[in-house]
């Protein structure tokens, strides 16, 4: 029996001292350890009241940046849509009278598909689509999971931390 020699090799086993073999002292030892833990500070975060503020590197819900002059940054190039692995982004372009003439008429992200990979942010030439800190995404209806421009556009000031982080990491 080859297995017998393999598993009955006593040199692999740690020799227990008599004190450890008695078992009961070690049980008491364990009990003391757990008893000490009762009085330790707790790790639990009381969620709805205490919220977590993620670091700037956190990849939450992708948002579109609205510049300070009230114009969206997106030029509807469609790169994000191209790169998106789960095909969650739909962009339809149109033109305006402004100097920056292209803009998206429709910009939809299906948040039921989004996998928060951040490729859209990485590929965007205008820094227009940005991963925000928003991680509270729950819907009662699948239709609510498709975010249009009304939900996606956020003022620049609210994502400034992420923009600074990107500027730092890209240089």
């Amino acid at each position: 029996m080859p297995n017998e020699t393999k598993y009955n090799n006593s040199s692999l086993k740690r020799k227990l001292s008599l004190w450890e073999k008695l078992y009961l002292p070690e049980v008491v030892h364990g009990l003391i350890t757990t008893f000490k833990h009762i009085f330790r500070p707790k790790f639990t975060r009381q969620y709805p009241e205490e919220r977590w503020d993620p670091p700037a590197s956190f990849r939450g819900r992708p948002v579109l940046v609205l510049d300070d002059n009230g114009v969206e940054r997106c030029v509807a190039c469609g790169l994000c849509s191209r790169v998106c692995p789960p095909l969650a982004i739909e962009v339809r372009a149109s033109e305006t009278e402004l100097l920056k003439e292209r803009y998206p008429v429709v910009f939809e992200i299906n948040m039921l598909r989004c996998i928060f990979c951040g490729y859209c942010e990485e590929v965007c030439p205008e820094e227009a689509i940005i991963m925000s800190k928003d991680y509270e995404l729950a819907f009662r209806d699948p239709a609510e999971g498709i975010f249009g421009k009304d939900k996606l556009l956020v003022p620049k000031a609210s994502v400034q931390e992420r923009l600074d982080y990107l500027a730092k990491m890209r240089n």
Binding site: L31, T33, T34, I38, P41, K42, F43
Partner: protein
């Protein structure tokens, strides 16, 4: 007499059922604290209404009887479990005699039973039928294995339990629980007079109540849920209640046999009236039981589960010989020290 007994049954059933659901809460709290968490604190102040929410949830669940099960046994098994768990409490004296005017009310449901110890041992053996039947009648391999393990474990540890008990019986010279308490009140508590007996009884109580580290009948990693895998809704709740009721019963029995029951040292020397003394006695009993419940829960969250062969080795090769040696030692103690 009958009305008195019925009133006592009603009060005790109410108190114990409430206590059982709050033991569950206590378990969840202590497990949380030991794991550096907070535990339930949402339902009601400090989470105190959590048991109510749990019971409501279980009541509203769908009651499923598996197609391959033996319907009647599947139904009767949880009933046996819970009945046995509560029946033992009928003879546990939770206080001294309550004297109101000229009537003396003994604080036990069935007072005057002079074979209390035998009754306890007999009923805890019946308890295994509930679990084994549940495992067998479910028609599932996991349940069956859980039930088989439970019966094997019960048979192995019942001997140790009996031997531990025997040392108490030898020291008190009686099977009557009140006599046992009085003998402890007169001398030392049995935990001091028979420490090995206490250890044996305590360890095998863990096995008898299917608690960690001996909870092999419901070992989640191997057996899903063990004997109650196929149970849902209130039938599952009954098993759940029975498990905790068993812990409470075991704590009460250990209190009576080894920790002096409702007796507190030096209280009788304070010169209190008999009514106050009785109330203090009931308080002391409750306090001791709660302390033991804490130990039961504390042990569960500290010690990992035994392997099956280790369990059998411990039962037959260590505890049983120790029990027999203890009987001899207790006999010597009885002859040379007590008398």
């Amino acid at each position: 007499m009958v009305i008195e007994a019925l009133i006592k049954i009603a009060i005790i059933l109410f108190v114990v059922l409430t206590a059982v659901s709050y033991t569950v809460l206590l378990e969840r709290w202590i497990s949380a604290w030991i794991q550096d968490r907070i535990g339930p604190n949402r339902v009601g102040p400090f989470g105190l209404l959590q048991p109510l929410a749990d019971v409501l949830k279980l009541l509203l669940k769908e009651d499923i009887t598996p197609l391959l099960s033996e319907k009647w046994f599947h139904w009767i098994a949880p009933v046996i479990s819970i009945t046995v768990a509560f029946s033992v409490l009928a003879i546990v004296p939770f206080g001294g005699n309550l004297t109101i005017g000229s009537t003396v009310i003994p604080l036990t449901i069935a007072s005057g039973i002079n074979i209390g110890v035998l009754y306890i041992v007999a009923l805890t053996s019946v308890g295994v039928y509930g679990i084994t039947l549940a495992g067998w009648s479910s028609g599932s391999k996991y349940s069956l294995l859980g039930g088989l393990r439970s019966s094997a474990q019960m048979i192995s540890y019942e001997l140790t339990l009996g031997l531990g008990l025997l040392s108490v019986v030898m020291l008190s010279g009686s099977l009557d629980l009140n006599t046992i308490i009085n003998s402890q009140a007169a001398g030392l508590w049995n935990i001091v007079r028979a420490p090995i007996g206490f250890l044996l009884f305590f360890v095998s109580s863990f096995a008898e109540t299917n608690r960690q580290p001996f909870d092999l009948p419901e070992a989640e990693p191997e057996l899903v849920g063990g004997y109650h895998t196929e149970y849902s809704s209130m039938k599952f709740a009954l098993f759940f209640l029975a498990e905790y009721a068993n812990i409470i019963t075991a704590s009460a029995v250990i209190t009576v046999l080894f920790l002096g029951g409702w007796h507190l040292p030096f209280v009788d020397k304070l010169g209190l009236s008999s009514l106050v003394t009785t109330i203090v006695g009931v308080g002391a009993f409750v306090l001791k039981v709660v302390g033991l419940l804490f130990v039961f829960i504390w042990v569960r969250w500290s010690i990992p589960r035994f392997r099956y062969d280790q369990l059998m080795n411990l039962g037959w090769k260590v505890l049983l010989p120790l029990g027999i040696i203890n009987i001899v030692l207790t006999a010597f103690e009885k002859i040379y020290l007590v008398n």
